[in-house]
């Protein structure tokens, strides 16, 4: 079995409110989501939200480190007992940012079939948030308090309501078999 395999991809040709990777096989060890995204709303910044297995209970939390590149402080914040994983924060360009600018990010979920809570690592780059004056970079540690295997990953926006055409989402499986 190949070690690093594309499981599924979704490149949007129309505005779309949510992207879901479903029927994720249990044959890999880790999962990686990579995306380039932009919101139809949200002003300067919108935020990618993740849920697994359709679960909207308060099982998600995260700890985030971020900076805006404008000479300000590097900050850290936290979310607990959330109904979705807001990782990484500031992850998506909003509709007032420079046209054709998309945020990039990666979400790494190790041991996604193990019967334990799931740690999540995330990183995002949000360029040109304020038309040349700001950009955001963030790294995040997430936790999903769910012991069942992950079989689906759903992605939405905090404000949105839509991902714009041209957004791309890729799900990879990494195998240590």
């Amino acid at each position: 079995m190949a070690t690093y395999t594309l499981i599924s991809s979704n490149v949007l040709t129309t505005t779309t409110a949510s992207v879901t990777f479903s029927s994720i096989p249990s044959t890999y060890t880790d999962l990686v989501v990579r995306y380039a995204a932009r919101s139809s709303g949200g002003s300067q910044t919108d935020r990618l939200q993740l849920r697994i297995n359709g679960l909207s209970t308060t099982i998600y939390s995260d700890t985030v480190l971020y900076a805006n590149g404008g000479g300000g402080a590097i900050l850290s914040t936290r979310g607990s007992n959330a109904a979705q994983l807001p990782a990484p924060r500031f992850g998506v360009n909003g509709n007032t940012t420079t046209s054709n600018t998309f945020s990039s990010g990666e979400i790494y979920i190790p041991s996604y079939t193990a019967s334990q809570n799931k740690p999540v690592s995330a990183i995002s780059f949000t360029e040109d948030v304020a038309n040349g004056t700001e950009a955001y970079q963030s790294v995040g540690a997430g936790l999903i308090r769910e012991t069942g295997a992950i079989t689906s990953i759903g992605l939405t926006l905090l404000t949105g309501p839509d991902f714009v055409s041209g957004c791309s989402f890729y799900l990879y499986g990494i195998s240590n078999a």
Partner: protein, 165 residues
């Protein structure tokens, strides 16, 4: 086409153990990556990384971290290991993830690494990145991961080789 990203070895602990060590690492890749997911038998201890069984004081690191309320940056020089989880620590019950990217590990220059520590515990925890230097010109043939206490049952570490050729 050569495989670019390949598993070299993996270990899942069936019982608690003092360390996970990858030995006899071949020099055939360009970079190495370790993915460590697990817990310790006691709360809030550090994780140590040693290369080639070397405990001489030629390791250093600079890190940036966030604990949910503040960001911080620290440095340590002339240490006997690379350390992660400072500040904070690894839980005994909630798994966290640490990755090590070790670049040009088979070359004859000093070795640079990037450690990423991901540990959210729903109300506490830390996210951190460490840039690391190991002042040895020897090729890396072994990597040891240990702590002040045993690594817990179920802890997993996988070593991958990344090839540019």
């Amino acid at each position: 086409m050569a495989t670019t990203y390949e598993k070299i070895a993996t270990t899942t602990l069936g019982t608690a153990a003092a360390d996970i060590t990858f030995t006899s690492i071949p020099a055939t890749y360009t970079d190495l990556r370790v993915v460590f997911v697990g817990t310790l038998v006691s709360n809030n201890y550090n994780l140590y990384w040693n290369l080639n069984g070397d405990t001489s004081s030629i390791y250093s690191r600079t890190n940036i971290s966030g604990n949910g309320s503040a960001a911080a940056s620290n440095r340590a020089s002339n240490e006997a290991y690379w350390l992660n989880t400072s500040p904070g620590g690894i839980s005994s019950t909630i798994p966290s993830m640490t990755t090590l990217d070790l670049f040009s590990y088979a070359g004859s220059t000093f070795k640079t690494g990037l450690i990423e520590f991901t540990a959210d515990y729903n109300g506490s925890g830390v996210t951190a990145r460490y840039v690391c230097l190991y002042r040895s010109t020897s090729a890396i043939t072994s990597i040891k991961i240990s702590s002040d206490v045993n690594l817990n049952t179920g802890t997993t570490a996988t070593l991958y080789g990344i090839l540019k050729a």
